[in-house]
Symmetry: C2
């Protein structure tokens, strides 16, 4: 499948933002990026606009587009919305989840433990995402799934600002996932919702404004 130039550029830019290669607040200048990526302004422009619609950048007419620089307040608000939707997804999932899907979730949990022992943070996050996305999918509400996916993506960029060295203790996360999965297996909506609520809460309640040099760039 031949992918369009714009999609490719979009992916590259998004990745660079999420990974922190592009500093928050940076202005995304069309002409500059066009030269760097050896394409015309047209696909660059499209990619930048898409980043805007996805919430990774802010646009001002006749001024240009900058990578977002969220406040701690905004970050917590976003996590809160994500929490609400994931709570709902977990509740719905108790009614529709199949034994195979439960097995898949448990498999992820095992992988998570192994990855934790290996200290492979990147892989750990990949598995974490997979768990949350699977539950969102199992919920059976595709609109809900799309919103959760969007918010999950959006919260990734926040983790860089909040915890650039990724030192957050991941151990509790594993146990929390297991709690959610147990509730799903027991088909207990209230327990599933509560478990997910607590899990999401622990991922943002302790956030504080990090002390970093102004021009800090995470690897």
């Amino acid at each position: 499948m031949e992918q369009s130039s714009e999609s490719y550029i979009y992916q590259r830019l998004k990745n660079a933002i999420i990974k922190g290669y592009i500093k928050q607040g940076t202005k995304l200048v069309e002409t500059t990026l066009a030269k760097q990526m050896q394409v015309s302004r047209t696909p660059i422009r499209g990619a930048i606009r898409r980043l805007t619609y996805d919430g990774f950048a802010v646009y001002e007419a006749n001024k240009g587009t900058c990578v977002i620089k969220p406040t701690l307040q905004e970050i917590k608000e976003t996590f809160f919305v994500r929490q609400q939707l994931e709570k709902t997804a977990a509740r719905l999932a108790t009614e529709t989840i199949s034994p195979e899907q439960i097995q898949e979730l448990q498999h992820y949990c095992h992988e998570e433990i192994q990855t934790f022992e290996n200290r492979d943070i990147e892989e750990f996050h990949r598995i974490n995402d997979a768990i949350h996305l699977l539950i969102a999918q199992v919920s059976g509400n595709t609109v809900l799934r799309r919103y959760i996916e969007e918010l999950l993506n959006r919260t990734k960029i926040y983790l860089i600002l909040y915890d650039p060295f990724q030192t957050t203790p991941l151990n509790p996360s594993i146990k929390e996932h297991q709690k959610v999965i147990e509730a799903l297996q027991a088909k207990d909506p209230d327990a599933a919702e509560k478990a997910m609520e607590l899990h999401m809460l622990s991922s943002y309640e302790s956030m504080e404004i990090p002390v970093l040099p102004e021009d800090y760039i995470s690897l």
Copy 2:
């Protein structure tokens, strides 16, 4: 304030879709629209892409963009997500709402009753939107507010498919709004959440596939 051509085109197209002037499933051809609107393809293209990101159209690479043609399932799913978020907003609003804001809501309710007597459906919907948006704003969570605003916009297009003649009894809606406002005034989170849940539920639970000629256009 001078608005860009693209923004203007976006607004026009969105309005045409929401009002039903453009039939659901219609392909949005760049060249055709460019001729109609007397501009080049560039701003048309941007406007169409934006409609895509807002969920009013679907895009396929190298194929083009079509106005969405949601199934009843999708419509109900979207209303459900909106319901979840508005429930949350109502709950949060009980903690932050001011006497002035309560008064503003009550004012809307009075307007709503008058408008109902005048059978001005368009105005009625405008007031209804204002009530929901104000509660979302009062919640104090701007991310939540933006999502609710997006979903409110998106559900507008659904009402055309569901009820093109806008014959839905609006009377219960007024009473439901009053219930929500009473709960906000009493600063009772559970009551506010419940009242909003019931109000949202009544707006979509009874939806059925409408019987319409294939080429039906609302006004």
